[in-house]
Symmetry: C2
Subunit: 682 residues, 2 copies
Amino acid sequence: MLEGMFNPKVVAIIGATPKEGKVGNILLKNLKNFKGKVYAVNPKYEEILGFKCYPNIESIPDDVDLAVIAVPAKAVPEVLESCGRKGVKNVVVITAGFKEAGNYALERRITEICRRYGINMVGPNCLGIINTHNNLNATFSKVMPPKGNIAFLSQSGAFILAVLDWAKSNNVGFSKIVSLGNKAVLDESDFMRFLAEDDKTDVIMLYLEGVSDGKKFMDVAKEVSKVKPIVAVKSGRTEAGAKAASSHTGSLAGSFVAYRTAFRQSGVVEAESIEDLFDYTLILRRIRSISGGIAIVTNSGGPGVIAADAVEEFGLNLAKFDKKTIDRLKSILPPIANVYNPVDVLGDADAERFGKALKIVEEDPNVGAIIAILTPTAQIDFVKASEFVASVDKPIVTCFMGGETVADAINLLKKHGIVNFLDPVKAVKSLNSVKKYELMKIKLEREVESIEIDVDTDNARKIVEKYRDRRVLTDKSFDILKSYGIPVPPYGVARTAEEALEIADEIGYPVAMKIVSPDILHKTDVGCVKLNVDREKVIPTFYELVKRAEDYLKADVEGVMVQKMMPAGREVIVGMKRDPQFGALIMFGMGGIYVEVFKDVSFRIAPISKSDAYEMIKEVKSYKILKGVRGEKPSDIDSLVDVLLRISKLSLDFEEIVEMDLNPIFVYEKGCCVVDAKIVLR
Amino acid sequence: MLEGMFNPKVVAIIGATPKEGKVGNILLKNLKNFKGKVYAVNPKYEEILGFKCYPNIESIPDDVDLAVIAVPAKAVPEVLESCGRKGVKNVVVITAGFKEAGNYALERRITEICRRYGINMVGPNCLGIINTHNNLNATFSKVMPPKGNIAFLSQSGAFILAVLDWAKSNNVGFSKIVSLGNKAVLDESDFMRFLAEDDKTDVIMLYLEGVSDGKKFMDVAKEVSKVKPIVAVKSGRTEAGAKAASSHTGSLAGSFVAYRTAFRQSGVVEAESIEDLFDYTLILRRIRSISGGIAIVTNSGGPGVIAADAVEEFGLNLAKFDKKTIDRLKSILPPIANVYNPVDVLGDADAERFGKALKIVEEDPNVGAIIAILTPTAQIDFVKASEFVASVDKPIVTCFMGGETVADAINLLKKHGIVNFLDPVKAVKSLNSVKKYELMKIKLEREVESIEIDVDTDNARKIVEKYRDRRVLTDKSFDILKSYGIPVPPYGVARTAEEALEIADEIGYPVAMKIVSPDILHKTDVGCVKLNVDREKVIPTFYELVKRAEDYLKADVEGVMVQKMMPAGREVIVGMKRDPQFGALIMFGMGGIYVEVFKDVSFRIAPISKSDAYEMIKEVKSYKILKGVRGEKPSDIDSLVDVLLRISKLSLDFEEIVEMDLNPIFVYEKGCCVVDAKIVLR
């Protein structure tokens, strides 16, 4: 669909000008080397910079595949109309002054025109697009990066400028670059889908400030990640996510948490900084999986140990060598050399000794990837060493540590697509990003088991409809959960003290009694919950609660909920928050203090599979407690998986539910039970 | 004391040779530019490379300040003897083949010779030393770094080679460099002490594999850190520290934890990777404190947000501008520019607009440091922008993002000692290292309050002496704790069932009963503890416990401890482990599951002050629980401070105690009580 955008035969620059320094001038200059036809459009000229110039796009004799628009904002709609009439299918609107400047109506207008004519539009308010492989530089950046296999999509044009400049100086090659701008028509997902099939692109690098459509993003990313890696950095992380300070799903599930969860569920490798973005992208160009442990070969003990430390710290495995490998290493290395992992070929090693050790290590079946570390001793010939590195077939990264002395060798490695790091820790961190990608990919490729969940949607629908105008459901939330097969204690709502006694007699003693009032949300905090109530206390407790609520709290009381006191179990919490971008974000955590103090929770975006649910539970640190510490019996994890799946379904079935808090859920050796719950409607 | 080492008037190279490529040849060549007299020593020659050569050091007519020794290992003792006779006070032994190769006796011999003659020796097995300011390159590295104000001490010679090469290519200047080698005589602390007074050195960079004397290191580092920053990276982190998996002090307090704690208590800034080591060192050359919030000024929104995210994530503060600042910014920036922090001067800003904004932001009294971020737009003149940056007096770092386009400007910044980062996150991380240094320094400069602790050392001594041959003390540990004024429950040890009843009658019911046997350490795990024993159960329980221990566990039973059942309180744990390097490492944490699952513990090396003890308690995440969550009453933190101080004193008074575990301690609204304890003797 975007073929004509990146491989146009004919390009028109609308707003071209001979005036130096203007965008419409730079755009034309940047197309000097383009392997296709270029027309200028401007009613004032007949020719600009040697390009034939037409008064408008419709007067161009050829079919135009791509129009780049750099005219004042208010003129853009008319220009787009004329592109539409001409049948131009791809446009890039460089012009700013739309949504980002508060001109929402103007942006809506151009979006509407594009939709009407079926125009693929990049921007507005963007730097443009680049395809290095046909010399298409449809941006106003003067720097064209080297050809390569990285595609780069960025929501910040300024950041593209920085990357282009960096790429050129560091000889890093790109295939396609897109400045997304305001994303009025085309967004990151559209380009990701196109790039998945682009054989010039092996990895997609993404700078995001937000996504336009969370579901589309996830759907596309899931498919693309199976084919090639996507590495993304997201700015605006701390706003809500990391600052979350309380125990409610609402604040723990900040918007960044949703992004992080979405990335992970759709196979996107998240980078936490610009350098990580570069590092992960570079390594994933060539290395996609690591089958075995990490081996370290070094001529310097210290940096070798630093790398080994990092391998453990990132949770990767150091390869354990076969006896044969040890023996072979012993036969070629001096007696005081370390032949175990990390292999230290010693400071007096020449490139040959290093190369031999590398070969032996590579041939060990337990080795999945190699980190080759060299410091600039007098004995080592780095260029020769880099040739040995290049001949290794298994995944390999290097730490040739130094400056000028190692520069030539590093360039040589670059030509083979091998990434060098100054710092062993970063080498390991980057290998870890490969491992992360590999694991996500495996999960995406796995068939998702289909699950049948038996629920009474109609009944839940009735309750939701009935209390639609009430924002927070307390006692009614139990009815909804019950309809969805989620275990709740026996309960009833009493209007009178006598009714309370009747209900209590039926469900058995002791009972918990809670005020039911739309005005009182945090019942415990204001003394409107009484636990462990015996038969003789039911009636006085009823009056006490009502009096407290009405007289003291001036609340409108609907009744008193009488609930069976459940035996204490381990406390867990399940929650849901509807994220504006990604939909229902399901949360799991150990209850009470664990959530409050340690924020020990896990997230998934609904729908979740059975294995997702198990993973969510296993992911929290306090999972150990559920498994049973100090000889205690394990909790019924299957029953929690069931609750998670039902909450996932409930979230999908009812768009109007924006938040749920099942807190606490008591979990037992057998089964579990939601002891308190809250559902918030839109 | 090391003046003659770094500023010698006369240097002798012992083992000098005209043979190309030999260490004794490179050493001489490296001294070509040295501003002092150089003699060669080798009986075979009269002159080498233009330097006068003598058969031995004693025949040199001048006094020799520094001798560099590169003769075979077995010849080193004789050479050192002759240096001693000659009165040479400073030697560098390049020669390898000592301790590191298993030749401990040879190393002891040369150490003894140095001690006898009062010789300051660097090495053996090292690269040598460098003083850039008098062109003294007494190493066999061919690269001499630029002059500068960083001193570098390294336990890895190979790593020095990498740093020299990197420093030269990146134009980073050094004052002195020392390859520590085997540290047979002089160690890192000796050099740190010297460098504190060296006016050519502003910051000390340290690569450590271990320290020779933990107490000396801490004492020296504490003094040096008050004068100038020390930045250290320690290799070999994971061996024990991070892998700790159980709840015992023994395994949680791994050796790296001791290092990390020692660094922190003595003001040493810890770097976790090589790049961090460089970054922190570079920034601390010039910036030592940040008085106020961080301001961000950028021409590109995205990277600005990334920096702001990082500021929050590292726990630093974004400056909140005065209204005056906002108004001034509004007056010079376009209306859609963001005048709040981060300030976005927009992509079309030229250097002047950027410079003006910088000035306004600097003048805001709430701003303590500035991060200036620029991407390579067509409008920005980087060299001009760097001049504006250089004119800022407040601490400032830059992110001029790009490659060639920004290279000149970055060099200009370098001349002003301003550090540039490609990545905003690293800029923030580095500012955070300044904040860390500043806080540690403030603490070091604070007068430590003297505390009087009333303890009965004599009684404790008696118990320790009596049970010297027993490794683990269980019931006896209560006696020791009691002597040190640490609250324990009333208890007694019964030999007979009747005695048990007598004791129980005296202390009151219910009681806990525990077997006392040197063979049973984990009493609970093997069913040798009974809790909540009432009067009628005391006698049967006694027999049951003894039977279980003797018949079933084949243990040697000394009696049964009868202890008052303490009311349940919040559980905390206090522990001590004697680290071979740094001495008594005191641990604090919340008890039970918190320690096991979350490893939520804090450490200090004894002696600790009252404020240290408070800090230890406040540092654990679960401190919130002690303060009282969900309206619960706070625990008596003062009583825990008292326990920590007494344990610190006990650890110092008894070198023979290698480990203590007070687990759990019950803490109440008022007071606390050690419910179980274990003391391990050497």
